[in-house]
Subunit: 185 residues, 2 copies
DNA sequence: CACATCATGTAACCAGTTACATGATTGG
DNA sequence: CCAATCATGTAACTGGTTACATGATGTG
């Protein structure tokens, strides 16, 4: 069980539909938890069957109806249990980094293009996260918000995500520049 | 197929045994590719069966014998093909970040402890990577090395790994300090 | 003599990916 | 009317994890 806890965490203080969760895992949470939408719908079903979540149909006008999910008490307990359990090592799998490592076997122009594409994606995600963080802290200075707000978890995690994407973009551009320099000289 | 390319990349310019690869994936490459030793031995077998790698027994005195693996021409071609193929999105799964996100449901002291443990691990990995980078560039200034060396891939990837772990350690300590402050005030 | 490190695997199970499938509504 | 966005799934497959298994050698 792995995705479960990420889903429970996302639903800790709000109800969301599968679709909203898929946006979240695509944009906000992608820097610390990766999941496809198919996986989400499957896991939401299991979590509901296991009594950790309850789903309610929400009728919308102007859009297809949706099913939103909320934590049950059992779900919250399971999340608390999880936070106390030993932490598993981080699992990262990044094709682009493997390609950079194997630079010797790669076509330089193609690799440079891929690094630049990734840089652009990471810049966009960093910007999105910066906006999220601003929204979370409202008009307060960061230090005040972190000292007084009642739910700082998403802010802490979002900050790490922004760091990750800022670095990723910076590194990709740096690496691309080096490879470009090596081909043209 | 996923681990394959990471293994082929690691063997691009040297021969290594399963055990040496498991060290590499535990220390050097863990910031961009995660794999267990069981997985490595299984995949090395498949790669040999597919003709992308050849294994040779090396007799050692004072230690158990080992089997080292080297890229074949087919293996190198496959790696080149891979570097040109579309890059899959990065997959990250980090329990600790999910726990930070779910801070509200967590016991503060336990979470702080976990953040501090991770900070120490990341500091150690960053230091290891810094030493590796120094070894790779030898006595040259970084810019000279990157402009003139014939294999910069591992240096580029290692640099990203160091950034990742430096940030991770810094963020963990920052987050732990915030949570500590919130519990004591 | 016990512990750390070196060294390599197998088998059963589970998590995650890929391909397929459908349909409503809004805006250009 | 076409594309984008909203919305939700299933089935087959494959990649990865967990638990189990073994044994040599050097160091304190």
């Amino acid at each position: 069980m792995a995705l479960r806890h990420a889903l429970l965490a996302a639903l800790l203080d709000r109800e969301l539909s599968g679709y909203q969760l898929s946006k979240l895992f695509d944009l906000g949470a992608s820097s610390f938890w990766h999941a496809s939408s198919q996986q989400l719908y499957a896991e939401l079903g299991k979590l509901e069957a296991d009594g950790l979540l309850t789903g309610h149909e929400v009728v919308q006008q102007g859009r297809p109806n949706k099913r939103v999910f909320a934590l049950t008490d059992a779900g919250r307990d399971e999340l608390t249990r999880f936070t106390g359990a030993p932490t598993k090592p981080t699992s990262i799998r990044d094709d682009l980094m493997v390609k950079a490592y194997a630079e010797q076997a790669a076509d330089p122009d193609t690799l440079i293009k891929q690094l630049e594409d990734r840089a652009a994606q990471s810049r966009a995600k960093a910007e999105f996260l910066a906006a999220q963080l601003e929204k979370l802290r409202g008009d307060k200075p960061e230090a005040d918000f972190l000292a007084s707000a009642d739910n700082v978890g998403p802010y802490l995690a979002g900050t790490r995500g922004k760091m990750y994407h800022d670095d990723q973009a910076e590194w990709c551009e740096w690496a691309a520049a080096i490879l470009r320099h090596r081909t043209t000289s």
